[in-house]
């Protein structure tokens, strides 16, 4: 992959995080309390045993969470790749492969969490 496309991907995922992360925070505001704190509201264990938040039980919101997970992973691990290369003063193929492996694990594990929490599997 050319470095130009990596950079464009970095910008695109950054702007995608702005969108999906905004939705992610906005869903928390649905439950913003006027008495008590957000902790007591979001962490309440109602009759919904699997869904963490009642408002999250929505396939579109699950998809937006998935988008947030994937774009944040790409953005974060590309950033870490650049910072680590500048930290040790050269590119190291094993560091880049290791970062890719951790990122792939995070996407798979997070996708599983999203699917279970929204009762989609």
């Amino acid at each position: 992959m050319r470095e130009r496309n990596v950079m464009l991907l970095h910008y695109a995922t950054g702007l995608a995080i702005l969108l999906f992360g905004g939705i992610h925070i906005w869903t928390l505001f649905f439950t913003y309390p006027f008495q008590g704190t957000i902790w007591e509201t979001t962490m309440r264990f109602d009759s919904m045993p699997y869904a963490i938040l009642p408002v999250y039980r929505n396939t579109l919101l699950a998809l937006s969470l998935l988008g947030l997970l994937v774009s944040t992973t790409i953005h974060a691990f590309n950033g870490l790749r650049i910072i680590l290369a500048e930290l040790i003063g050269k590119r190291n193929i094993w560091i880049e492969r290791g970062l890719f492996a951790i990122g792939a694990f995070l996407v798979i594990y997070g996708t599983r969490t999203i699917l279970i929490a929204h009762m989609l599997v």
Binding site: G14, T37, I52, E86, Y109, G110
Partner: protein, 162 residues
């Protein structure tokens, strides 16, 4: 090129990244963007692992039965109910908002949009890349980040509520 990592070089490079020196505002933006990016990345990894534990950890790959789900959920909640984590979330809110707005500023700068244009200039004039629009966006990111931190403290811990 050898693949060996020299620790003395890494330490020296870390110092260059973390100490802005007297080089001005943009150098501070470089350092802060870097630090906030790394800290938020670590938080993101922790967040994915932590939300995974809400549905029962690594061993669960399908919807579990009700009793197991309730127990896993209560364990995760009791682990997270800790004022240190709440204070940490306020710091994360600060860093996320700073990184976001400053990131938008950097994207605009990288596309040459908020910078001045090349022109005839005197030696002691401010460089066109240090334009007022670009610096205003930096200060906007700082102020919104501080606002976000106070808001998070209020939302999570009720600091500013009687």
């Amino acid at each position: 090129m050898s693949q060996r990592v020299r620790w003395s070089t890494a330490l020296q490079n870390l110092k260059t990244m973390l100490i802005p020196g007297k080089y001005g505002l943009e150098r501070w933006s470089y350092t802060l963007q870097r630090v906030s990016g790394v800290v938020v990345s670590l938080y993101f990894i922790a967040h994915v692992l932590e939300t995974g534990s809400f549905v029962g950890g690594v061993t669960v790959w399908a919807i579990p039965d009700y009793d197991f789900a309730e127990r896993a959920y209560r364990e995760a909640v009791s682990f997270l109910k800790n004022p240190i984590f709440d204070a940490g979330l306020a710091v994360i809110g600060l860093l996320v908002v700073f990184h976001t707005i400053n990131g938008v500023r950097l994207v605009l700068a990288h596309f040459g949009l908020v910078l001045g244009s090349p022109r005839r200039r005197e030696i002691l004039e401010t460089p066109a890349s240090f334009s007022n629009r670009q610096r205003a966006l930096f200060w906007l990111s700082i102020s919104l980040a501080i606002f976000a931190m106070l808001y998070t403290l209020d939302a999570l811990m009720g600091v500013f509520r009687p």
